[in-house]
Symmetry: C2
Amino acid sequence: MASCQARLERSLSHWLPAAGTHPSILHESMRYAVLDGGKRIRPTLVYASGRAVGSEPELLDDPASAIEFMHAYSLVHDDLPAMDDDDLRRGKPSCHKAYGEATAILAGDALQSLAFYVLGHGNTALTDQARHHMIEALALAAGSRGMAGGQCIDLAAAGQELDIAELEDMHIHKTGALIRCSVVLGALTNAQLEPDVLGKLDHYAKCIGLAFQIRDDILDEEGETGTLGKRSGSDRSSGKSTYPALIGLDAAKQRADELHEEAMDSLSGLGEPADPLRWISLYIIERDR
Amino acid sequence: MASCQARLERSLSHWLPAAGTHPSILHESMRYAVLDGGKRIRPTLVYASGRAVGSEPELLDDPASAIEFMHAYSLVHDDLPAMDDDDLRRGKPSCHKAYGEATAILAGDALQSLAFYVLGHGNTALTDQARHHMIEALALAAGSRGMAGGQCIDLAAAGQELDIAELEDMHIHKTGALIRCSVVLGALTNAQLEPDVLGKLDHYAKCIGLAFQIRDDILDEEGETGTLGKRSGSDRSSGKSTYPALIGLDAAKQRADELHEEAMDSLSGLGEPADPLRWISLYIIERDR
């Protein structure tokens, strides 16, 4: 996985226009929002999913980069004063703190465009058909019925006590859609993939997407700001519903463990090539940031 | 052209999720930002350019809708308090005035995703290759080296006196890129198009893109708020450089006329099918809103 991380950083830097490109403040802010930071879970899922279906890493750099640009844009916009109003992200001042609100809005907008540009322009080894299926999946996952919709649900829920069904509905949109999409993009690099394998990978992705969010809530409760790279307790203090608040800390940890087991089960029969997907699931429920 | 307008409105409404779709406030705001308003110049250019290269209207609905979604998103974000802070758009309260800032940011974000979704998912009669060339062109035109870059240049220029070269650089990015892209998307529906025809159409688009902006500046100087659907004089009063301010009102009108002539010349040899493109160029320099 370390070699994939190195590939990814090279690919991200390749696709981002140089900081001196006109208008330079915008390109600087885009690079600031993407490079040197983040756990890179979504692109790592692209590589791991691609490996599980037998695709070479060369095919995976572009979808991995596209998904990370999309994720980075969402963080920049989520942190804006009108949204979650966070001033710390990935251990640095958030984009609008560093570059101002207008530039941050535009940097997010341009990162979304860049995600689609990479899939439209990039990897000549991908078939045209794979490419447009990827674009369709990414656009759906990012849009109003996916990630953007989830952020809207999240904002509407501030100060309200959600029940578990409402909380999961929010997470399925806000973080689940893009995590599922990461696994799907990796799988789409194999044009001969059998539908039932895609179904298994998709179920795996659904489980870890939810486990990821539960772990996030647990860390918000237990973690330390220095390790997290963002303020601990910020969700609780801003009146957001969390799993620990709704079902208690122990039950939340147990639910994350169960989802990990379910994710493991859905990979049965995929053998050794799916090992990186297994490691990621374990990482997700054990991570401390 | 009237029949194209009707096609477009049907297509826009088809692609926009129904206002009741969860989360409904987001889908309501997206429909608010797109439907019942606007001159629809960009999608009209898609239909006109497609007609000039012999494509049936059926092939043009999707690219026309995609470009209008992209344009609508840019208006929603440009109007935000952190950007141009405009409270009136298309004769109605701007999106953030009607739905709040957070929802407006998300509506813009989701409209950009929707633009790519339409091109990735839509028209089965388009070849996969045409589709991904369209996506590449649209992503480049909308992103940091196109429209988003232009808005950044525009904001950085506020309160500064630009020279003509700087002003044109800004407009080439901010409005020119998407207008050129409209013409290119229409042309890309003909897979057998000769490169020199594409070159002619692109030159036409460059000329009318700039003429459009000059006319905008003239209207900002001369127009009335009620007709414009946005505040007249708002550019001037916010310290933005305009053509009339830099070269005078008469010289600005003359420059717009010259660009119209140049646009006409670049269509020579394309015959009657290019007539709608000719009408649009004339409309652009004569319009009063």
